[in-house]
């Protein structure tokens, strides 16, 4: 770890005022980990963990979740479990209880990839060091993305929570020097393109203060399915957050987001529209999944993810629709 300056912000205004060029520290489960292996090397760390941003409440038809609410607090919150069960399931499928106790919603929104090359200073990585090359591309790609990839980066987005929030069409509230704004979660994460080092649409000194999850009949039907190499404490090979609303035997509305397969949480509007008005059957869901995976770019070790992601999506959609599998 390199030497850095440590400061603690007394309030949000102060954090924003002195946030430029600093790394905000909340739970530290990701930032400190990456600082220890010298992948992230901020000169200044600004501790925001004691700000009053941990509240979780159901207000104005939405779950208002403070950025410093812990993953555990959100996952075990009664309103979350009732109104957006898919979000609770996604959080509980990630990391370990110890990590979930420390990790925060704000931090989780900005969780860095688990690409093994990104974390290994002995290899080349465009995300870590722009234009240095990517050793993952022709290397061990089992855990890498098949959607949203570029010829600069194939690192998979790691967060389970973000996948669920995307399916729930959450809005991310940020405060910056220019004031407050809301970012649709689908626009928070950037595709790698030619600049995999640019990961988020946040502007300098912008601090995430909370997340707003609209609560409706669809959110209440949300479910999360995660396939991984062991039962706990493993990143997704493929995951899916799905929400399906059925009326009179036909799908009224449906959304699903994929995890483990994209460079960011992945949704395909056309796939979702394809289900509208159709019966909630395996065929309907399989067709939607097929559309969602169009354009997938499989590599040697992750080719199986294309089929696995489809099956995972079908499972999540079936569960959400309450259809017999």
């Amino acid at each position: 770890m390199r030497l850095f300056t440590f400061q603690r912000a007394a309030n949000v205004d102060e954090a924003v005022a002195s946030g430029a060029g600093a790394a905000f520290l909340a739970g530290g489960t990701n930032l400190v980990d990456l600082m220890k292996i010298e992948v992230l090397n901020p000169e200044r760390v600004l501790d925001v963990s004691r700000l009053d941003l941990a509240k979780i409440e159901l207000r104005e038809g939405a779950l208002q979740i403070g950025a410093l609410a812990s993953n555990t607090a959100v996952a075990e919150h009664a309103e979350v479990m009732r109104a957006a069960p898919g979000l609770s399931q996604a959080l509980l499928s990630g990391a370990s209880p110890q990590l979930r106790n420390a990790a925060t919603v704000g931090g989780n929104l900005l969780q860095r990839t688990r690409c093994a090359y990104y974390r290994d200073l002995g290899t080349r990585c465009n995300k870590r060091e722009p234009n240095s090359g990517c050793d993952a591309m022709e290397g061990w790609t089992r855990m890498h993305a098949v959607l949203g990839v570029s010829d600069k980066c194939i690192a998979a987005h790691p967060s389970d929570m973000c996948v669920a929030l995307y399916a729930l069409e959450a809005m991310v509230r940020v405060r910056g020097p220019a004031g407050e704004r809301d970012i649709p979660i689908g626009e928070l994460h950037l595709l790698p393109g030619d600049h995999p080092e640019r990961e988020f649409s946040l502007r300098p000194a912008e601090l995430i203060t909370g997340v707003r999850v609209p609560i409706d009949a669809l959110a209440a039907r949300s479910r999360y399915v995660k396939v991984r190499d062991r039962q706990s404490y493993a990143f997704a090979l493929a995951s899916c957050a799905a929400a399906v609303q059925v009326e009179g035997g036909a799908i009224r509305a449906a959304r699903f987001a994929l995890g483990g397969v994209g460079t960011k949480p992945w949704r395909v509007p056309e796939a979702e529209r394809s289900m509208q008005g159709r019966p909630p059957t395996r065929e309907t869901f399989a067709r939607a999944a097929e559309i969602a995976l169009r354009g997938a770019v499989p590599r040697r070790d992750n080719a199986f993810k294309v089929e696995l992601a489809k099956r995972t999506a079908v499972r999540a959609l079936m569960l959400s629709a309450g259809a017999p599998s």
């Binding site: 290397g139 396939v227 062991r230 696995l308 995972t312 499972r315």
Partner: protein
Amino acid sequence: MSDEIGKPYPRRDGRAKVTGEAVYSYEWPVPGILYGVLVTSNLAKGRITAVDSAAAEREPGVIAVLTPFNAMKLPGGAKPADTGDRVVQVLQDDQILYSNQPVAVAIADTFERALHAAAQVRVSAQALPFTVRMADELHAAFPHDIRTSAGSQPADQLRGDVEAALRRAEHKVEADYETPPETHNPLEPHATLAVWSGDRLTLYDATQGIFGVRKKLAKAFALPPGNVRVITKYVGGGFGCKGSAWSHVVIAALAAKQLGRPVKIALTRPQMFGIVGGRPQTQQKISAAADKDGRLIALRHETVSTTSRFDDFIEPAALVSRHQYQCENIETKHRLVRLDIGTPTYMRAPGESSGSFALESAIDELAHELGIDPIDFRLKNYAETDPIEGKPFSSKSLRRCYELGAERFGWQKRTRRPELVLRAGKLVGTGMATAAYPANYTKASAIARMNPDGTVLVQSGAVDIGGGTYTVMAQVAAETLGVPYEKVKFDLGDTEMPEAPRSGGSITAASVASAVEAACRALRQKLDAMGERPRKPVEALGEVAPSEERKKYALHSFGAQFAEVEVDPDLGMVRVTRLVGAFAAGRILNASLARSQFMGGMVWGIGMALHEHSVYDEKLGRIMTRDLADYHVPSHKDVVIVDPIFIPVEKDDVVDPAGVKGIGEIGITGAAAAIGNAVFNATGKRVRALPITPDKLL
């Protein structure tokens, strides 16, 4: 006082370990200590042309960066002290032989500063062509004799005419099996603290064998062994990787000598992958045939395993086929291929765990082909004597293990045809396998002392790698001397004590218990001769060694593993919902600790079956699963019911004086096969390459 042996006493080191009182090797309070962190190579092969340590040396607190260009030359050289001792890379030359090889060491006044300094060191090297792919070197595979705790054995063995038997066989299985490279990851990484006083060296080392470390260090520094003292009071897991003195041990002593201050080095987690061994990859081919009555008439087991360019380690995976089943025609072959990797080493049941996966899967395949219950098939081919050498078994309770395990597991309720049982949307399957491991025993010594206050101190230079040596040896001493267990203290882990073997090959309990018994018997005789309570401490030494009689027998522990799995039919995820193991391993010294040992082995069997894989990037020649998030071992949720049972006393007067067969390794043998067989029973899919990950079942 009597019947202390076998009692389920809690482990004596347990409290110290869970409260943090236990002082591990890295933690010995030594004044003036310096912290070393290794710099390791990014290249898999090459020659170091320069090491730029200027930036590192400018950092606060950095004392030195030692490289091949400025490190002292070892007076005794870096060559191994004896066969079985590993070749190490200790800054003596400019060669890079594998990725992650130590190429320098940064020394600073704190661990954090040394870690950061190590990251600042830039190594320039001329890259050379390499390969870490077994397929690239199969053409150059060569036979190599097998060296285990039981001694040396030939690479190849043939009894009868396998080819002819295969030709006339009515039922046959010919299949290829693969086990991946795996890496040990004890919670305590390798760590060494080196303190010089003149020409005397004291090492606090996380090792499974203090005398081997002493020998190697004495040789490297051209010292009489008596000048090197090795102390190891607690080990946070060994599993084979701590069975050798690896590069960092020598480098710590070198740095301490050169800098004139104590130096300690602990490996970081990513440094565990390559420098300190691992289970080598194996490719195994089994050809097995049976006649129409289900009698095994041919068994051929060919295995290839990987080793480094510069050292020989062989995973003797086909050994298991030499002893497991009665068969007139048995052929076994061992081959090695050299790759540009760090030298592999012993990992829990080296050979028996990987080999039993292949053999016990093939036996299951043959039973399925014959339509015979897998236990019945094994009973039809039960070896009453060693199938190749014809020797009687010193004891063998495998039949009883099948019975006990089957009953405990509920094997009779099994559905033989695959893909028939669904539970909550999951396919359910069951499978079983035979477990076996050699009953190793070697020379050992111990000293027992009776104090005037009635307390007893017994010492032996063994180590306790978690198996419970501190506890069980006190039990053996108490029973042999006829004194209360509480009055006996057993101490270990110091080369000043009587010599004991390296704790590997499940050898410690058998060997050290026999030595402790001998010491205590000698002490008892002395005390009885004195007739009165001693006013001064009275001591007696016990030394034991294998008898000639032992050579007339085949000596093994046996067991039977039973697994139940649930498989998601669409998503391929496997969960082992139940694992039952029934074992017979001589006299059990402590029922509670034995249960833990068996259980630990079985849990590792789950990991071997479903999770563990050191994945190489073939283009970089580098292991990329370099931490415990990428290198998977079972999580709690993967371990549902693990249920070991055992025969408390399997009488065996031959195996060793204490009648003990070690149990450190048998728990993993057969476990992966039982799980794979259960996956087949659940899904109809036979996965012959471990680990069984979801993609293989889609």
